[in-house]
Symmetry: C2
Subunit: 227 residues, 2 copies
């Protein structure tokens, strides 16, 4: 099976190379594969972190909840992504499968042991954490200062970059998920998408409204202000 890694660099039959682990240098590192049904929890906030996960197929959402049910999704994890990397030993998000999702599990303890002796692995852990940080930093700007159309435009461009197989993208997540990722009401997400559809920026493929074709990436990019 082939998976796409997050940087889109190279396809790798051994997915652990993303962490800098190769079967030659670390023959002892093993992993198992599990399938999670739609909506199934993978781990919960404040739980101790047993495993690190890599998405093989499907998608997952990581979120925080307020006591009254308000939810903020911090990230979506798509095919190739690695998540659950908590150096504190405790998960800071609850993570669920958005749709039926196949994951590879790696024991965290194993990973840490390898990192202790192998500086390359250690560097990769840091690099991945930094990349998560960078995403969060950009998302703070979006959540704090962007309008609803700018948020949706940014979202579509992000997804376009991350899950494009063909020129039509099949969004795995629901409108509610998009809304909770963008800090909007789900009706607002609908309305913006409708407006973009009416303006000829995007199209829905017949049937599923989660399959979207971007017709005018440039106009979309103009909606998402730079700097």
């Amino acid at each position: 099976m082939f998976v796409r890694n997050t940087t889109g660099r190279s396809l790798c039959p051994n997915s652990l190379t993303d962490l800098g682990i190769t079967s030659e240098s670390n023959p002892g590192v093993s992993s198992s594969v599990l399938i999670y049904k739609k909506g199934k929890a993978i781990f919960s906030e404040k739980e101790s972190a047993e495993y690190v996960y890599q998405v093989i197929r499907g998608a997952a959402r990581s979120y925080k909840l307020l006591s009254d049910g308000r939810r903020q999704i911090g990230a979506f994890h798509l095919a190739g992504d690695i998540f659950g990397l908590e150096n504190s030993g405790t998960h800071r998000f609850t993570t669920q499968a958005v749709v039926e999702t196949t994951l590879r599990l790696i024991r965290r303890q194993t990973l840490e042991m390898v990192a202790e002796t192998d500086p390359a692995v250690s560097r990769n852990l840091l690099r991945m954490t930094t990349s998560n940080l960078e995403h969060a930093e950009n998302h703070m700007l979006l959540l704090g200062r962007k309008s609803s159309s700018e948020r949706v435009a940014a979202f579509l461009l992000e997804m376009d970059k991350r899950l494009t197989a063909t020129n039509s993208m099949a969004l795995p997540m629901y409108r509610r998920d998009i809304a909770d990722y963008l800090g909007l009401a789900l009706e607002t997400v609908c309305r913006v998408l409708s407006r973009l559809h009416g303006a000829g920026v995007l199209d829905f493929t017949a049937g599923s409204h989660r399959e979207i074709v971007l017709l005018d990436r440039e106009r979309l990019a103009n909606l998402d202000p730079p700097d």
Copy 2:
């Protein structure tokens, strides 16, 4: 500008211990101290990262700008904080001194060299990056899902925890900074503070409205919903 270039040892024997560097194990690591005037840029977004900084006195703000001037402050750096740690080699924020601020500068390259050979330093780099990530994750929840009063309450509690010397705290930052940190208009911040003042939750010391006394931390904590 005022510059002193010294070794870490002679200036402050323990200043680098936050990074896991001690003068015994790494006698060669040197640092210099600079004073930045109010509003002075320390580094800019997309600039290459030459140094890592530690706040000795004062405060700094790290932010991103949109082309039309909208600003999102990602973090404030107070006395003791280390910032500018960019593993990518490029700064992702612009950082300025909020008030007159004294900083210790450490060459990034030196730090990386030490990290390469000393796994303890390497672990500390990861731990600090993780701690930044955790802050950003919590801030996403605030920016995406909290009301204006909840945001201000959370802000006051955060500052109370981070810069309390006495029971009155001297906020170094302006209302505009608070607003841009919380994703609000500066007038909204004012209004919430006024309301809290009227409700007897906090008090302004005579004169400066940036010196605040928290009278009722419990009521403040109730405004910031848990979970």
